[in-house]
Symmetry: C2
Subunit: 355 residues, 2 copies
């Protein structure tokens, strides 16, 4: 069975880490006898926008919908195209049109990576952030009135639907079921945001009834961010709205020192549409073109993709290879951000070899 993978490298270091992601996937495919077929697309980058006046061709949906997965680099280059245009014109379209309503991000303290938190060791921090990925605070409803005057008012709606909230909660509860600690934390702000957030809380209470074995707690987002720093060991599966999940899934990797190497999956669990796998880091214009970007986020995202396609063992082997290379700590191999003097290619090659 051939798995057809669409490749969109995007901007900046996205184009540099992508080849290493593919190299690692090819090594894994060979070892585990998996048939992957890659097709590369040029659209979805700011350069494409400068040439065509849009981020994607009109028929992007038709072109991509038949693939088994999208393997994605990073998009955005604010000096060329404002972020809200490049992002809403590409990544956020994919998430919404392909109904990738789960954004899943592991937060794991890896060997050889220094946490900015005092006294934390590998094993101490190991949780998932499950983020709602299609609605909530990322809405397209709203507008401006009395423009350009002192009375100017700007409104944007947060929109939550029962369908949207329930399905992400269900996914998070199911994930918590598979974990040894069976713990779920809900991110809320129902003490201040008085309509949508109490609703979110209600749905959590309702959903929890179906999962009596899961220990459920909730924190308001302000104190929750504080607890990520103070007590990262408390967490197992953390579920949040689009915005809260976005914040927590950058803060979590920051606490594990892995912001530059963390992966993410944008999942359509029913498989009606392709899911999308991308590193958490962005296009990083400041270091683009130097060949020093760390490819681990891209490779780790590839591991999540294989797991999603049904090859859990193969995905685990990729993560193990990453951990091995990090543990060895060979400075000629590792990139600068993790204490070495190597390049994107040297690190990518070492991981592919380890696989």
């Amino acid at each position: 069975m051939t798995h057809r993978i669409a490749i969109i490298a995007g901007d900046g270091i996205g184009t540099e880490v992508m080849p290493e992601g593919i190299r690692a996937l090819e090594a894994t495919a060979k070892r585990f006898n998996i048939d992957l077929e890659f097709t590369t697309f040029e659209f979805g980058s700011c350069d494409y926008y400068l040439e065509h006046g849009k981020m994607l061709p009109d028929d992007w949906f038709e072109q991509l919908k038949g693939f088994d997965a999208l393997f994605y680099g990073a998009v955005g280059w604010p000096d060329k195209v404002p972020d809200h245009i490049s992002l809403w014109g590409s990544l956020l379209q994919f998430r919404r049109r392909f109904d990738q309503y789960i954004n899943l991000r592991p937060c794991k303290l890896m060997p050889g990576i220094k946490s900015p938190l005092a006294g934390r060791e590998p094993g101490d921090i190991d949780f998932y952030v499950v983020r709602e990925n299609t609605e909530g605070e990322y809405s397209s409803v709203g507008g401006k009135m009395f423009e350009g005057t002192d009375r100017e008012v700007v409104i944007q709606d947060t929109v939550m639907t029962r369908t949207g909230v329930d399905r992400v909660l269900k996914y998070a509860f199911e994930l918590a079921q598979t974990r040894p600690r069976k713990k779920l934390t809900s991110a809320t702000k129902s003490n201040g945001i008085s309509i949508t957030m109490p609703y979110w809380d209600e749905r959590v209470v309702e959903m929890a009834k179906g999962y009596p074995e899961i220990a459920v707690d909730k924190f308001h987002i302000d104190i929750l961010t504080a607890n990520f720093v103070l007590h990262p060991d408390w967490f197992d599966v953390v579920v949040g709205s689009n915005l809260f999940g976005d914040i927590l899934s950058d803060l979590g990797p920051a606490c594990t020192g892995t912001i530059g190497i963390a992966p993410s999956a944008n999942i359509n669990p029913e498989g009606h549409f392709p899911s999308l796998f991308e590193p958490v880091h962005g296009s990083a214009p400041d270091i683009a073109g130097k060949g020093i970007a760390n490819p681990i986020g891209q490779i780790w995202s590839g591991a999540m993709m294989l797991e999603h396609l049904g090859y859990k063992e193969a995905g685990d082997a990729m993560v193990t290879a990453i951990e091995e290379v990090l543990s060895e700590g060979d400075a000629t191999v590792l990139t600068r951000d993790v204490g070495g003097e190597g390049t994107t290619a040297s690190l990518g090659k070492a991981i592919a070899d380890a696989i």
Copy 2:
């Protein structure tokens, strides 16, 4: 000149730390010859709600508006009254009706306090979070439709006005002017929240034109929370919307290890209405009634109140006294959260004595 201070202790540990706040203020008033007159109010607590069916009497505005400042403990006791009712019925009313449009919170690594961040020393972290405090994501506009069915949809509007955005930015720029580093960081999320947040960015650019000496940068809230952990030394004055400011002003104190002792000021800069001073911590039902709550947040809030009333030297003396007592590290005096075995009263008394 007599300064009339309204006291509202609220719930839980609010009622325990308040007497220590008053004790410290009385010591300071004596030393600096300041005439303070305290009037205590019973409303604004969940017990008041249980008795009267509301958090505040109908004429609260009339009763309080003539005071020079409100000195506030903490409100909320979810087992008695849901948070969104107790908070919207009290604290959030004060902020809005008294147009306390600035929420100001120092994030400062104090001597004797252990930061959860590795390798950070007092002096390394010292910044202010300036939060918009009346509009934005904390709105009262929105509702529910198709209630109780699968089509259920819940909407809440984020509302930003030019008046509201500009005045908090102006305050933040003015504050940055008074600081040696003259640096301002704006919290945004204009890549994802596509209407209100690009507007916020626009107003920052516009306001910055009037302050050419200030170095301005901006970060999206997700990576900004990460940078609080990774690079807390980057920040000087950080300005954000109501929600983003709320998050950052819990996360900042968490990074300095001061979440239990940080103060905050809710300010109406024009002095048309009384400003309100309160610790960042909440009512902490879990430790209430034990006499072990740390009173420093309340005392430090008192220091901010004196500064606001025009007594900067007196406010500084209170902060110095706090620093002295923390540096001494006497375990019989300090409360448990800062490594001692003392009580709310022992720590409060030591600080009052130091003043």
